[in-house]
């Protein structure tokens, strides 16, 4: 069943398909009926789940894999985030994980033969108070010690790169400096999901959409498969990668997680000509902004405070972060907003993810990414595939086990990771 040949995407194939009016492109992936048995089931066809399936096939030769998706592929947080990719985290454990991911991003389009439009346009994290400046300098130095590119920029440096940002000392929260990671940037989030799906499918993975998992089957302390809206599917290994709904899946297996699910909102403006050629984030005034290739300004901030599964939040949160963006960029004050949406994010107590085995043999959880999962898409899949294939964590994700909440070895990235979570 494995190694179906897919058409290669190239300038030449685009030209030849154009000659026949683009009517003869292959489907990017199949929509197979679920079989009764697989070696591995991945629950959730978002970016992380698809990356896990892709790396199971590409790195570990495990191709008898099903990815089960209750809705449509990439329709959850993968299609709802603000597409920022960076690795300038404070703690060494986080640096290793997020920079592994960034290194994979740098070759991902070629690896999966699908252009995800990864653009290393850099990310600014601004500092607005003397305390901000100190923690920014500490993080820049910690990043450099961990081999991650990081620069400290003064207001003059920032103004030279972004001429219309408000660096006036009279601002309510004046910009006193900021960190800059040149290798960071943005990627087209839908293309990331589609490219990983196509590459996984090509290697034999069954991607089954419209198939909701309703139960996790166990034989004593071993997992045996899942119940779904399309029947029972058996597998000795089940990896759960469902972000905001991880507690719901955990409850099916009789487990409890250190997770709270919250709404996280974002919005985009009407498209305008190129005006912002980097990503600007601010923890203090709390907003972040970049410009998509379509010209829309993409903006967001932190979670709504209350727990929620509703994929929507309160307008006051949007009002707050738009006020923050306008404070930093007075030039945007007349922009009109085009769309606004929410997703459900899985927030862990230390703002670090959980990539872990569980007490149930063969059941693995990948969750807790909170507001920052998109940047980790390939790295998360890479270490989680290793964890499932070898039944033990890779050294990179070993610190991100569930046990850390019992032993107390948290990876505290609250506020330290350059933006509030």
């Amino acid at each position: 069943m494995s190694n179906r040949r897919r058409q290669n995407y190239s300038a030449f194939s685009l030209f030849t398909q154009g000659m026949s009016h683009h009517k003869h492109w292959q489907k990017a992936w199949r929509s197979p009926e679920p079989r009764s048995h697989y070696d591995v089931i991945i629950v959730g066809a978002g970016g992380h789940g698809l990356a896990t399936a892709f790396y199971l096939a590409a790195e570990h030769g495990i191709t008898n894999v099903a990815v089960l998706e209750k809705g449509w592929l990439g329709g959850g947080n993968t299609g709802r985030n603000t597409t920022i990719v960076r690795s300038n985290y404070l703690q060494t454990e986080s640096s290793d994980l997020y920079d592994k991911s960034l290194q994979l991003w740098e070759g991902l389009s070629q690896h999966v033969n699908y252009n995800n439009m990864f653009s290393q346009r850099g990310v600014y994290n601004l500092a607005h108070t003397p305390g901000d400046v100190r923690t920014t300098l500490r993080r820049v130095n910690a990043n450099r010690l961990n081999g991650i590119d990081a620069e400290y920029h003064t207001p003059a440096d920032i103004r030279a790169n972004i001429p219309y940002i408000n660096t006036s000392p009279d601002a309510r929260y004046p910009i006193l400096g900021g960190s800059f990671q040149p290798r960071a940037g943005v990627a087209r989030h839908d293309a990331v999901a589609w490219g990983l799906a196509r590459a996984a499918d090509e290697r034999g993975v069954d991607i089954i959409q419209d198939c909701e998992v309703t139960g996790i089957n166990r034989d004593g302390s071993r997992v045996t498969g899942v119940e779904t809206t399309r029947g029972t599917i058996n597998a000795p290994k089940v990896g759960v990668v469902v972000a905001g709904h991880c507690s719901v899946l955990a409850e099916m297996a009789g487990l409890k997680l250190p997770i709270e699910s919250h709404p996280l909102q974002a919005c985009v403006s009407e498209p305008v000509k190129p005006v912002l050629n980097t990503v600007v984030m601010s923890n203090q005034v709390h907003g972040y902004c970049s410009q998509s290739d379509k010209g829309e300004l993409v903006m967001g901030a932190g979670i709504d405070s209350y727990a929620g599964y509703g994929q929507r939040g309160s307008p006051r949160v949007i009002e707050n972060f738009l006020a923050a963006i306008k404070e930093m960029f007075p030039i945007f004050s007349r922009m009109r907003m085009l769309r606004q949406w929410g997703g459900v994010v899985d927030v862990a107590p230390d703002a670090s993810p959980i990539l872990s085995k569980t007490d149930i043999q063969g059941l693995y959880f990948n969750c807790g990414w909170g507001t920052g999962g998109f940047k980790a898409t390939p790295g998360s899949g890479w270490v989680f595939a290793h964890t499932i294939a070898k039944d033990e964590p890779h050294p990179i994700n070993a610190p991100f086990s569930l046990e850390r909440f019992v032993t107390g070895r948290l990876v505290d990235e609250h506020g330290a990771a350059a933006v509030a979570h």
């Binding site: 709904h245 507690s247 719901v248 409890k256 997680l257 250190p258 997770i259 709270e260 699910s261 405070s305 209350y306 727990a307 929620g308 599964y309 509703g310 309160s314 307008p315 006051r316 107590p349 909440f405 019992v406 032993t407 107390g408």
Partner: protein
């Protein structure tokens, strides 16, 4: 914007309130509790999809804490009640 009914002040806008997370979590005796029980007290949550018992503080009003039962899917409040009381409606588990 949610409208939240403070048991003492009546209905007010959400922006006056601070969210306090899951309610009815009892602190184990630190002298006798083991690490697992302590971890569950500190970090592990039911995180229910449905009716959820939770704490709120009327931070920009009377500054008093209270409990509420709210649906985490459509965010509708089903009850508010005082700290120390049991939920007046059945909550999801």
């Amino acid at each position: 914007m949610l409208e939240i009914k403070c048991p003492w002040c009546g209905p007010r806008d959400e922006s006056e309130f601070a969210y306090g997370g899951e309610a009815h979590i009892n602190r184990p005796d630190p002298e006798t509790s083991d690490d697992l029980a302590w971890a569950h007290y500190l970090y592990f949550r039911d995180n229910v999809q449905g009716l959820h018992a939770e704490r709120w503080n009327h931070a920009y009003g009377c500054r008093r804490w209270f409990n509420a039962v709210r649906d985490t899917v459509n965010y509708r409040f089903h009850a508010v009640y005082e700290i120390g009381e049991d939920p007046p409606v059945e909550v999801a588990k």
